[in-house]
Symmetry: C2
Subunit: 479 residues, 2 copies
């Protein structure tokens, strides 16, 4: 099997091969267009076609996820060239795998018929994922082409808000009855062409689809086939979800209990779908990506080959907010211009107070947000946490503030200035610590996402607050 | 099954119950200690014991991951009280589930005998995960108690560096030969008490353990039992890893190909272990946590109930670095004190230039780091990316810089000041864009982690650079 074995680095290898083929392809095109020798046209056309055929062959062999990966890594022009070479029936699965930004760039180039064909190759839950990016008339057409069950599933899948279990679940599953023997189950499974992906357990249901228990493939395989399903199925500690459950909670449960799949049930305990670890892994990755991006002020994942204008739009909102907080801070300084004119050292020292306050506040808020996300902070712990963070801020303030105060004294020869520096640092760190605990705690109590925009708020606060505290103290005590 | 059903919110419920039991427990203790009525001692002692028994019963029913969760959410004192109630044979699995910081706090209270007992209940790969936190003499003792195979596995597991496949793999797996029928495999499996966790495929090997192919449980179940393993096993596109492979690549492969388990082979294609999606999910979660924490300047995940002093240590390094860059920026301002004295408006405007530059640089660097991590940026794309980021910076500079220049003009009545503001903004955004592309690209070319410390470097650069550019331009053109 040595030749066919796949290795994690292979997708990089695939990418390089495709790039190689593409660049040879371009070389030929350049020749065709540039050279004015009609006799050679035919030959070059042949070479051209041969390269395209080679590329197409390579693509046909690749896993849809690998093609998605390659499409993401190519500049727009090459990406669309390659996209046209992909077999129409594979379009759907590939569109599911690429990132939102790249998906848009691909869908833009497809006509309604192609989109319809691509969409029809998908399951209801996959279709629901793709639907927001498709033109309404395409969805309408696809919907018409489904059978009643398919329509109902699609309607259900599209009805659940993002970040719920319902939006992640699929409808593929194998159910069995509890009053049959394992032998019967084994024979039943042999009638399948294939099992749904990630089938590690069968759902045991009654006639009305009410969940009775779980028969893992393990139990099915290690037990005597004469035994009844009801005797070996698990009925205790069965982990199931409801479609309205928070996807975050489900992801944590998958992680905590090492699940591969779990049933999704409605309020009457009827099995209506299934959640698999593949969906959960994708969700975890997307969520953490989203958090890292939004921390840096990016609205969404950016196609690195996006146009300059698309990038500007993606980064616009954050820069605008940032500018507002910067202008506020600037006006705080403006209010103390007289003081700065009298003692210009203040201008050089004030960014230190603001900057370190911002960093320290970000440390606190990050820690609190993570603890809240893990469900580990009861509101009752707030006082204790504030006390602790105040303690940390006090130590840092005295230690770093003391050092910076000494530096200011040494630089500007005024121990009073040093003392103001130390006091301002300490006060701003205390402000940062209390805001770092309070902002996410209050947001979470109000039912908002504690993470969102916390970093902007706290940096805005410690900037303006730091300037105000430092310049205010200096004005009172030094001038 | 209604009563035994488990729901993702249940762990929160468990936490509240344990907290309730703990607080009742404390109430009783308070009575015992405070009241001076010897007659009542006996009664209170009984109540006391009854509560402890109740707590112990609750704990015995819980999944080790749930106990870990509860331990994490409790203040140190309660945590250690509860830890003593946990049955000794469960200590090992629970220690594996808690975070590093909490694990340390638990291990500190255990004596060598307890640690040895906890360690001996674990598999070699789990032991290797725990080993760095255990005292050397405990590891030595445990090592002595293992059989030859166990010793070899432990030695192997401990020999692989963190972030490699070897450090994540386990040694539990089921292998079969290709020249037997599925019926034989089914009978073979029935002799197992249980299958290894996450067994979705059996590894087909020859006499020397060389990997020949993969028999999925699906193929085993849907095919006629008379067929030979060799006829239904998959030999193409078998995804396998080597122990030295990068864990990141493996995690991406698991995500991309929706794997549940995969064989780990040595250089001669002998199967030596197995990688499962549970390990990969834990790895993905830890990595993204680590990235979010280090972005905020936290060395590692912090036990939110850690002592003030532990927290200070965890946040120390970043604040020190931040202070160095702040002092450098302050000295840049110090060099222009004469200019600020003459035109104090500069002091109020300069933080805007520095701040927005820093934010914009962070957007660029975050995007580039993510693209590099996904392997989507060839070094050859550098020029193209720099050109694009420069374009974005130019548009933002002219747009936001223009707005801020107009504001400066309006506030201070000097169009020259406005022009300097706009130019300085644009130049600092261009500096931020080029540094945002170059820093991670160069780090990655040098084989370093492109993410690490990028944010600190770029903020330091745009702060000092922004002050220098703005104050420098002002000094040249306005004074």
């Amino acid at each position: 099997m040595s030749d066919e074995e796949r290795h994690p680095d292979d997708v990089q290898q695939h990418l390089r091969e495709v790039q190689e083929l593409l660049s040879r392809q371009k070389l030929v095109e350049d020749l065709v267009f540039r050279q004015d020798m009609p006799r050679h046209d035919l030959v070059e056309d042949l070479v051209h076609r041969q390269h395209i055929a080679e590329l197409q062959n390579r693509l046909d062999e690749l896993h849809p996820a690998d093609i998605a990966y390659i499409l993401e890594a190519l500049p727009l022009e090459d990406r669309l060239f390659l996209w046209n070479l992909v077999k129409a029936e594979r379009d759907g699965e590939i569109l599911l795998e690429v990132s939102d930004a790249v998906r848009e760039s691909l869908i833009e180039t497809m006509d309604p018929e192609e989109l319809k064909a691509a969409a029809e190759s998908l399951d209801a839950d996959e279709l629901a994922d793709l639907a927001p990016d498709l033109p309404p008339e395409v969805i309408q057409d696809v919907f018409q082409s489904l059978d009643t069950e398919g329509r109902e599933q699609l309607r259900a899948a599209m009805s659940y808000p993002e970040d719920t279990v319902g939006s992640l679940m699929d409808f593929d599953m194998v159910t069995v009855r509890e009053d049959v023997t394992l032998e019967v189950v084994l024979r039943y499974l042999r009638r399948f062409e294939e099992l749904p992906d990630h089938t590690d357990k069968l759902f045991v249901v009654d006639r009305e689809d009410h969940l009775q228990g779980i028969l893992t493939l393990e139990q099915l395989l290690i037990n005597d086939p004469e035994k009844q399903v009801g005797d070996v199925m698990r009925t205790e500690t069965v982990i199931s979800f409801e479609p309205d459950d928070d996807a975050d909670d489900a992801a944590q449960a998958f992680e905590r209990y090492d699940l591969v799949s779990a049933p999704v049930i409605d309020s009457e305990k009827r099995v209506i779908g299934r959640l698999t670890v593949a969906d959960v892994v994708d969700y975890i990755r997307e969520e953490s990506e989203q958090e890292i991006l939004s921390n840096a002020g990016l609205r969404e994942e950016e196609d690195i080959f996006a146009s300059v204008w698309d990038s500007v739009k993606n980064r616009w909102a954050w820069l605008a907010i940032n500018m507002v907080t910067a202008i506020v801070a600037s006006r705080v300084i403006g209010a103390f211009e007289d003081s700065i004119e009298k003692l210009v050292a203040l201008a050089a020292l004030m960014p230190i107070v603001a900057g370190i306050g911002g960093n320290s506040g970000n440390q606190t808020i990050t820690m609190i947000v993570r603890a809240i996300a893990m469900g580990q902070v009861e509101q009752s712990a707030m006082k204790r946490l504030i006390r602790k963070e105040m303690g940390v801020a006090l130590i840092n303030g005295v230690m770093w503030g003391g050092f910076l105060g000494a530096m200011a004294w040494w630089l500007y020869g005024s121990w009073q200035l040093g003392l103001v520096m130390t006091s301002a640092m300490t006060l701003n760190l205390l402000l940062a610590a209390s805001a770092g605990v309070l902002i996410p705690m209050i947001r979470s109590r109000l039912g908002r996402d504690p993470a969102l925009g916390g970093s902007v708020m706290i940096t805005g606060l410690t900037d303006s607050g730091g300037f105000f505290i430092f310049l205010g103290l200096a004005t009172i005590f030094l001038l």
